[in-house]
């Protein structure tokens, strides 16, 4: 952070693009800038609103050489952009050197990537000494398929603004989704809606099952079509609104949770003796529901997520952790309560509201920020 740790006190910030580079279509500039702000929103409580005419907190402009501030640009190469720490006047503003060739690809100077760095300054981050971090001062080729923030960047910005909270609307939304006790019939959600959220997700005999209210979608990862199914048509005795689910492929069993009970199914058959109480798995009485769960085949462990903590159950030793751990300690970059999680190939996919985080357990970090409908042919 900067000396004195200047930061914005409000959580909704405005930005205005004062002029556009002739190197790109204005719509591409708008999209690159918006995408950069969305990345910072994904790890903080901050929201960004585009201002069209008035003054804004973050004024964005393209200029060459001297441009009415203290640091003239230096022609092609060298300094490609700069931005100011939060504050009034110049505070927060970001300036881009028009002598660069701005692109939306990995050739030339990628506007999204540079803007993401500069907005780090606009929000209060100083340069990082970590060559892997986004806030390292030198621009390098970047891999657009990898989540661009390094843990160092996330630690810095969350030191200033905290984690991604669950806003009231998210909570209301997830409580509606998790406890559909109201008599109203929830309509079938649109899988391509940007507001799509899930109750639970699990693999299932080579497919992926996405649970929502009284339905689930079945999708094979390598096929386009998606089937929507009423939960009751598969498992009539199961209540709607599954909380969590995971599959143990080698036993051809899938475990479904609702409230403090769970069922084990094989295909469309509920195995005898279910439901059972989750306390049979080793949870203490104060655990009343599971938010999400998945089975990590490589480790032979089942992970249960409850609010911001998780428990793991070792299948080999048949033992549950004695006490829960913080999610973000074992899964850096995954903060707060999650709605659903599953493993696909060597990655874990965490769903939180409208966001989906791809997590690489090998690198122990988030590698991609995806939309929840990433798996659907939208």
């Amino acid at each position: 952070t900067f000396a004195g740790e200047p930061k914005w006190t409000k959580k909704v910030l405005t930005y205005r693009i004062l002029n556009y580079t002739p190197d790109l279509h204005p719509a591409d500039v708008n999209a690159a800038i918006k995408k950069a702000f969305n990345v910072w929103s994904s790890v903080t409580p901050l929201k960004f609103v585009k201002e069209e005419n008035d003054l804004a907190d973050i004024m964005i402009s393209f200029a060459v050489r001297g441009h009415n501030d203290f640091i003239p640009f230096d022609g092609p190469g060298g300094a490609v952009a700069h931005a100011y720490a939060p504050g009034t006047g110049f505070g927060g503003d970001a300036h881009f050197d028009e002598d660069e060739t701005w692109t939306i690809s990995t050739e030339g100077t990628n506007l999204f990537y540079v803007a993401l760095h500069e907005f780090g300054h606009s929000l209060g981050l100083f340069h990082s000494k970590d060559p892997e971090a986004l806030m390292y001062p030198i621009y390098r080729k970047f891999d657009p398929s990898v989540f661009p923030l390094h843990q160092d960047d996330i630690n810095g910005i969350q030191h200033l603004y905290g984690h991604t909270p669950i806003t009231y609307s998210d909570q209301r939304e997830s409580s509606e989704v998790k406890e559909p006790d109201e008599p109203k019939e929830p309509a079938l959600a649109d899988t391509c809606s940007p507001d799509l959220t899930f109750d639970a997700v699990t693999t299932f005999r080579g497919e992926i099952m996405f649970f929502k209210d009284k339905y689930f979608w079945r999708k094979h990862p390598s096929l386009r079509e998606v089937n929507v199914v009423l939960i009751s048509s598969f498992w009539p005795r199961l209540p709607p609104g599954v909380d969590a689910a995971y599959e143990v492929p080698e036993k051809d069993e899938t475990v479904l949770f609702k409230g403090n009970e769970f069922w084990v199914v094989r295909g469309d058959t509920i195995l005898p003796g279910y439901p059972q109480k989750i306390y049979a798995l080793g949870f203490p009485k104060d655990v009343t529901k599971i938010d999400a769960a998945f089975y990590n085949r490589n480790k032979g462990k089942i992970y249960f997520f409850i609010v911001d903590k998780f428990w793991s159950y070792n299948k080999r030793s048949q033992s549950m952790d004695r006490k829960p751990r913080q999610i973000r300690e074992a899964f850096p970059g995954i903060n707060g309560k999650i709605d659903a999680v599953f493993q696909h190939n060597d990655f874990f996919y965490f769903f939180h509201g409208r966001k989906q985080f791809e997590f690489d357990p090998g690198k122990k970090r988030v590698t991609r920020l995806l939309k929840t409908n990433f798996w659907f042919p939208c």
Binding site: F2, A79, V80, D97, H117, H127, D130, P131, P137, I138
Partner: protein, 82 residues
């Protein structure tokens, strides 16, 4: 100048500008550019090499010369900027 002397001169110019722009280096006179081990410019080069993760030699070696020619953010790397 013979090529290598000219290149050296260009390198010195580059590093001096870079340190002025991003490391708050202020050259007061010719003596500041003398490359003794504890001269102001040597200290600044070490500070820059440390920040950018280079080997801290205090010299204008090829890695350092290469890195200071890469595109970068125009904001300084050390405080002292308000």
């Amino acid at each position: 100048f013979p090529a290598d002397t000219r290149q050296k001169k260009e390198g010195i110019q580059l590093i001096q500008t870079y340190l002025e722009n991003y490391y708050n280096f202020k050259k007061d006179g010719e003596s500041d550019l003398i490359w003794k081990n504890n001269s102001p410019i040597t200290k600044k080069i070490k500070e820059m090499q440390d920040f950018l993760g280079l080997e801290v030699t205090g010299k204008l070696d090829s890695d350092t010369l290469d890195l200071i020619q890469q595109p970068r953010c125009g904001f300084p790397d050390i405080a002292g900027f308000s």
